[in-house]
Symmetry: C2
Subunit: 446 residues, 2 copies
Amino acid sequence: MSEHGCELRFRALFYGLLRIRRKGRKTMARVLIIGCGGVATVGIVKCTQHPEVFEEICIASRTLSKCDALKERLQPTTKTKITTCKIDAGNLEEVVALMKSYKPDMLIHMGMPYHNLVLMEACLRCKVHYLDTAAYEPEDVNEPEFRKYYDNRCKEKGFYAYFDYPFQWAYRKKFEEAGIVGVLGCGFDPGVTQAYVAYAKKHEFDTIDTLDILDCNGGDHGYKFATNFNPEINLREVSSPGAYWEDHKWHRVEPMSIHRTYDFDGVGVKDMYLLHHEEIESLGLNYPEIKRIRFFMTFGQSYLDHMRCLEDVGMLSPKAINYNGVEIVPIQFLKALLPDPATLGPRTHGRTNIGCIFTGKKDGKEKKYYIYNVSDHQEAYKETGAQAISYTTGVPAMCGAMMVLTGKWNTPGVHNVEEFNPDPFIDALNKYGLPTRESYDPVLVD
Amino acid sequence: MSEHGCELRFRALFYGLLRIRRKGRKTMARVLIIGCGGVATVGIVKCTQHPEVFEEICIASRTLSKCDALKERLQPTTKTKITTCKIDAGNLEEVVALMKSYKPDMLIHMGMPYHNLVLMEACLRCKVHYLDTAAYEPEDVNEPEFRKYYDNRCKEKGFYAYFDYPFQWAYRKKFEEAGIVGVLGCGFDPGVTQAYVAYAKKHEFDTIDTLDILDCNGGDHGYKFATNFNPEINLREVSSPGAYWEDHKWHRVEPMSIHRTYDFDGVGVKDMYLLHHEEIESLGLNYPEIKRIRFFMTFGQSYLDHMRCLEDVGMLSPKAINYNGVEIVPIQFLKALLPDPATLGPRTHGRTNIGCIFTGKKDGKEKKYYIYNVSDHQEAYKETGAQAISYTTGVPAMCGAMMVLTGKWNTPGVHNVEEFNPDPFIDALNKYGLPTRESYDPVLVD
């Protein structure tokens, strides 16, 4: 951040004065956005479509040139005042310094989840609202202290993801006392899926008995094999044990051992597999009436075959080998061979379909209900320059921030999305790119 | 070869004298063996089991230490006098110098087929019998002059392998005039399979109508993926167009597009695929009566899946990419990750089954006939230190050399195996490790 030291000190004065001018207005806000990848790009594009709320945004990421390029592209299209800043989001002092100078009303974190805790701490110190899109996990999952915690948690709770919520829930009381709102996991899943549960409970059911969350990506990028993001994260997904919630406890299953097919509206028939997913953790606590919560994600057979074959020959290994005197990490070398995920956007066709299928009771009668969204990769790309996987995460982040900034979600503390009023959020989603579809007679998953 | 210069000159004198002493004997011979890999190891072990024919052998390869280690292991077990020599088999002058000093009666070439032409030329100059186990192909198949020849031959003849016989057949008249015997392709396939054809024609049929050559490797090395030899050669096999011979011409088929299953004696049911194979070229010429000749090789679905997935991501590419400033060839890096083929021997279990299925007529009646061998990987390994894939190639090479050295195959010129009397050869195979099995009611391949 050294090249921005002077600029920051100047900004501190400038924005301090500006802030005095803005105090009287209610819904116009200054927002610090962390990240400039696919999801952040969508979130930022969407913010700039609503300058009546997002009056000023600062795009801050490790790579200033990406922030500047996005600013250059968007500034001519919007009244939102865009600034940029280089930041190491893992460096607390650096983030606090930026926040003290920029004085945002809210921080939207659309970077890596490794930085959630640093950014929450910075928000607490500066009394700034906070929103992220994925649960905290450490950058180094082999760090001994984390490992000890992790092994213990796996044993005690029975699920095997590296992410979980207690690290962030630990900030509940502090945020409450500071009078700031922290929104956890406000992408699509986690995020919209939890709003769907709150919505279903509020409008459709007296009691919910079962919930299946279905995440389908029916996109085709035309490559025989490519990954939408870091292949290391992809590998974790398919090689970690799955888990579901039933009778108030976790049930562990072997990786990819529960397979179903489902005919998705707008996509067609796809293979899907039971995975652990983070929103089950909070939904299980917030809705103890739900007897069973499962999460399914689609994976094509070809994708799985490639992952398995690459793993078999050691190409997914994160451990360096000595090759002709050079240390080479196989999975890093593989990344260099694969198409850059950033280039998939323009060539990805097809749709995503993500939603929740419920069974339960209303007025004493058994009832089924399915609420979901269908998004088109090419439409998302044309609008934002990123395909639907980023789109379905970035739009809810903007809508969630809008809820906080307009006072619709204003309970101080740290909350998962299902704890807020779902109605204005789903209204916003309907209006701003992720319209809701419903079915009262869905095919249930076995 | 510099370190052997002096020794060679001394040898020239020594063996010259010895040769005079040996002139009166008929079947005791001195043999120069090129190669010291798996196949050569088997061939050499087998030669040393017959010191009554192989009185002296010189093991010559690029890596002298391998030759010396084999000599050290075998010398205490045999009366055959073993010497060793470092040689570049692609260097004509070097080979001629060695032959002039060692004065072999025969050269057995069990090294790379790139060197066939150099070694035949050396044999011609020194009037030494010649035998190899695979048809010539150039080391650099992209060399422009070869490429021109190759493209033209593909078009004219209709098969797409890099190997073919005309380069070696060009020596026919020269070998004949020199009074030496050249035996081409005397492994199992090519080699024994052609002897099976000659045998079937001699003893079982008046006319042969169809021939299917079936090559089954039912071995399991316990790895999820490993290759028995260079993965680049494996790749060529599965990615080259196939071809079969019917009505006196080649019929090209897409790679791996003709798939059958067959229940192999001693192995079980296996998937097999139609490939081009070199013995079809000579059999088609030598047996114009045969209406259709096909070759099938077994490949497990898992093996094919791995090859395909690795190809899809670019891991089989022979072209270097720049990775963090270092030039890395993906297929070479893959080789470094995979188990060393040399380590597969002790852990490979199961059997091979290779043979020929005929239909035709005898005494005016329709007839079927199947002649084949079943070899066990572990038995081969225990006897020779190499598994059955090497064993089934090395044993026929020894038996073929024995035929030449004992005068049973003595027609001067360059010949494929089917041109010789099959009876003593098959007798030798039966006695020395590759016993023949027969069936008069085989299941035919569609």
